[in-house]
């Protein structure tokens, strides 16, 4: 067992300074952060996209990632979905007294690596240590700022009848990984999280295509919930082809065992892209050239019928509603 985090290290005094220097600056440091002023001075060229998110995942380490990488990828992706180039992140840590220092260092190092890969700088931060039991190990909040590159920022309100709906790859990988590795659950699927920053791929789409109407990353609630949000925001119907929706066999069978639906499971490295049908082929070409979009597919289209609803055409040619997730997915009895 390594050293444990002490309440003193969140006090704001010397112990806090040592923690910041030894752990945070070492992995996240840059000229703006290390000035240690009350706020970071940045000079972006607007318009700006801003997003914030808090990360409380359990377990904090999982195949394919950890809470630190997730805290960077999640916010970078939210900013990127507005057709923006993410530039800066802030991060706030709420740490439980007694948290393992080696684990903290591993998480911060993972954040540093994820930030460098995404090309973003962590420019401000905050650390609080709360008494044992007042938080579950580690909570991280990140806020991201990016410059909007797209002429008209993609938005959930811009889907139009006749548009194609594309996903960049297989669904449910992250959600099943985390669920199946949750403490106390004996079932562990041989699958890993798709956790990744998508900003380089979204920039290629924005620059390579004349018009992208919607970009969204289907995180919590999965494809089904996100696609319903788009249908409702835009006041359109969306028809999906079940056969075209990529789900890995291991995810499909894992979900079957647990009584879960992969279409409602979280993804942390996938894009939903809605754009005019005539540009769909080019979008697929751009996506498939990138490792994160290798398995991109057209999964449906936007319609005038059934506004606000998503209809799934099944493999048999039947149909059914694909609604939003109500509450959380829970395992069934039989």
């Amino acid at each position: 067992m390594g050293n444990k985090l002490l309440l003193d290290q969140g006090s704001g005094g010397l112990a806090s300074h040592r923690l910041v220097a030894d752990v945070f600056f070492r992995h996240l440091g840059n000229s703006i952060l290390e000035r240690m002023d009350d706020a970071a001075l940045i000079r972006p060229k607007g318009p700006l996209a801003v997003s914030t998110d808090s990360f409380t995942v359990d377990p904090i380490f999982f195949p394919g990632g950890d809470i630190g990488a997730l805290a960077v990828h999640g916010t970078v992706n939210d900013v990127a979905m507005l057709g923006a180039r993410p530039l800066y992140l802030t991060c706030g840590f709420i740490l439980e007294e007694g948290f393992d220092m080696d684990d903290l260092e591993r998480i911060v190092a993972s954040m540093g690596l994820a930030a460098r890969k995404a090309g973003v700088k962590v420019v401000a931060g905050d650390t609080k240590v709360v008494p044992r039991g007042a938080a579950d190990k580690i909570f991280i909040n990140t806020t991201g700022i990016g410059e909007v590159v797209a002429k008209t920022a993609p938005s959930g309100h811009r889907a139009k009848p006749g548009d194609a709906v594309i996903v960049s790859g297989s669904l449910g990988d992250h959600g099943l990984t985390v669920l199946s590795h949750r403490q106390g659950l004996s079932f562990e699927a041989p699958v890993q999280s798709d956790c990744a920053s998508l900003n380089h791929l979204t920039l290629k789409l924005i620059k390579g295509l004349p018009s992208v109407h919607v970009l969204r990353d289907p995180t919590r609630g999965g494809l089904a919930t996100t696609i319903n949000e788009i249908a409702q925001q835009s006041g359109v119907g969306i028809a999906l082809e079940e056969e075209a929706i990529p789900v890995k066999p291991v995810v499909a069978s894992g979900c079957e065992i647990l009584g879960l639906d992969p279409l409602y499971l979280a993804n942390e490295g996938k894009i939903i892209c809605v754009l005019p049908e005539k540009h769909a082929a080019k979008a697929l070409t751009i996506m498939r050239r990138d490792p994160l979009g290798r398995d991109a597919r057209v999964i449906g289209r936007v319609t005038q019928e059934n506004p606000g609803k998503v209809v799934l055409r099944t493999g048999l040619g039947g149909h059914r509603l694909l609604g939003m997730l109500e509450g959380e997915q829970l395992p069934r009895i039989c």
Binding site: S186, L258, G259, G315, G318, G323, E326, L330, I333
Partner: protein, 365 residues
């Protein structure tokens, strides 16, 4: 094409659909699928939307959460309120509404200790990790899950665990079907029998029903082709006037069921009367702890009794469970009763008929 893919093959399914149309020949068929997993499978696969109008589908009492009686919900919620009790449960029960809108989810927010487990054996681990507390597993489910719970109780005895208990709310399917068929309002002409339950009990328990009521019955799997073949077999038997019990799920269900699992089940439990939500008391349709295992019965050990509780006002789940009323004809459906504000468990459970209609049926929601 492997055998699994074949069960989802659109062409094979279309062939069976055409045969169903042919078998109908002007007649109608009101069939009930007894199992909640069948309800969901019919909708999820799209089979429901492809059936000819002459085939009317009724949902039955086959969702274990839905048939859990109000007084049983009240009893486990009472236990959840005790400071020295940890409730261990499958996730389905978390949002089931009890008296005054209480639920395990709300109780948990108010401080109750509730552990969602994926197997009853996980509840044993909870008991071992918390020797100062009483861990109560909610034994809900049909013949499918009851043997595993029985095996868990047996293991608790072997390990000498004194703080593990089960609330035996299990229900047995054949006595419930008998009770339903004896209701004069019931107009079911065929049963799609539950695959998982049948894997345990085999075909024998259904035969007296087929003889007594002359009802075609088919044990079915859960893939699209399984569902369609079962409907075809029911339609053909009805047309020929030869009602039988047919096992069309031989890849999983042996005609004799699973005697080993039944032996464990009846070592720990004995049949007893049970309350079914919306239906009431059905003699011999439940399981009570046998004398040798009474120490693990939460009712006995923790002094819990079932108290009379009023049905939820306006809720017509009873008629839905009996197949007398389709979910969307309930006056509360999609109005006062939605998945966000469920009045009854049929709208809560992922396998509940009301929830399935609300979730999947395009022209109703």
């Amino acid at each position: 094409m492997n055998s699994f893919e074949a069960l989802r093959d659109p062409k094979l399914c279309k062939d069976v659909l055409a045969k169903i149309e042919e078998a109908m020949q002007g007649q109608s068929l009101r069939f009930m699928e007894v199992c909640g997993t069948h309800t969901v499978a019919l909708f999820r696969s799209g089979v429901h939307s492809l059936l000819p109008k002459s085939v009317v589908h009724l949902t039955g009492p086959g969702c274990p959460v839905c048939v859990t009686h109000e007084s049983e919900v009240a009893a486990y919620l009472e236990l959840a309120g005790r400071s020295d009790v940890i409730i261990a449960t499958f996730g389905d029960l978390m949002r089931v509404p009890g008296p005054g809108g209480a639920s395990l989810k709300k109780a948990q927010a108010e401080g109750a200790r509730v552990e969602v487990v994926y197997s009853p054996f996980d509840a044993l681990a909870v008991a071992e990790a918390n020797p100062g507390d009483k861990v109560v597993f909610l034994g809900i489910g049909f013949e499918t899950t009851a043997p595993t719970v029985a095996a868990t109780v047996r293991q608790a005895k072997e390990r000498g665990l004194g703080n593990f208990f089960v609330m035996p709310f299990h229900k047995l399917v054949p006595p419930a079907l008998d009770a339903l068929l004896s209701d004069p309002d019931m107009a079911v002409e065929g049963f799609m029998l539950p695959g998982h339950v049948s894997a345990m009990i085999g075909l024998e328990p259904y035969r007296p029903l087929a003889e007594k009521y002359g009802i075609p019955s088919v044990v079915a799997g859960f893939e699209p082709l399984d569902l369609l073949q079962a409907i075809l077999l029911m339609a053909e038997m009805k047309r020929q006037g030869k009602p039988m019990v047919v096992n069309n799920y031989k890849r999983v269900v042996a005609d004799g069921g699973n005697p080993k699992a039944r032996a464990i089940l009846y070592e720990v439990y004995t049949p007893g009367d049970a309350l079914w939500r919306g239906i009431g008391m059905i003699p011999g349709s439940g399981l009570v702890m046998s004398d040798a295992y009474k120490a693990f019965d939460a009712f006995e050990a923790l002094g819990v009794t079932l108290k009379e509780s009023k049905p939820l006002p306006g809720c017509r789940c009873g008629e839905v469970l009996k197949g007398i009323m389709p979910p969307n004809k309930c006056p509360l459906f999609a109005k006062a009763c939605t998945p966000a504000t469920p009045v009854g468990p049929c709208m809560v459970s992922t396998e509940g008929s009301c929830a399935a209609y609300h979730k999947y049926q395009l022209d109703l929601a």
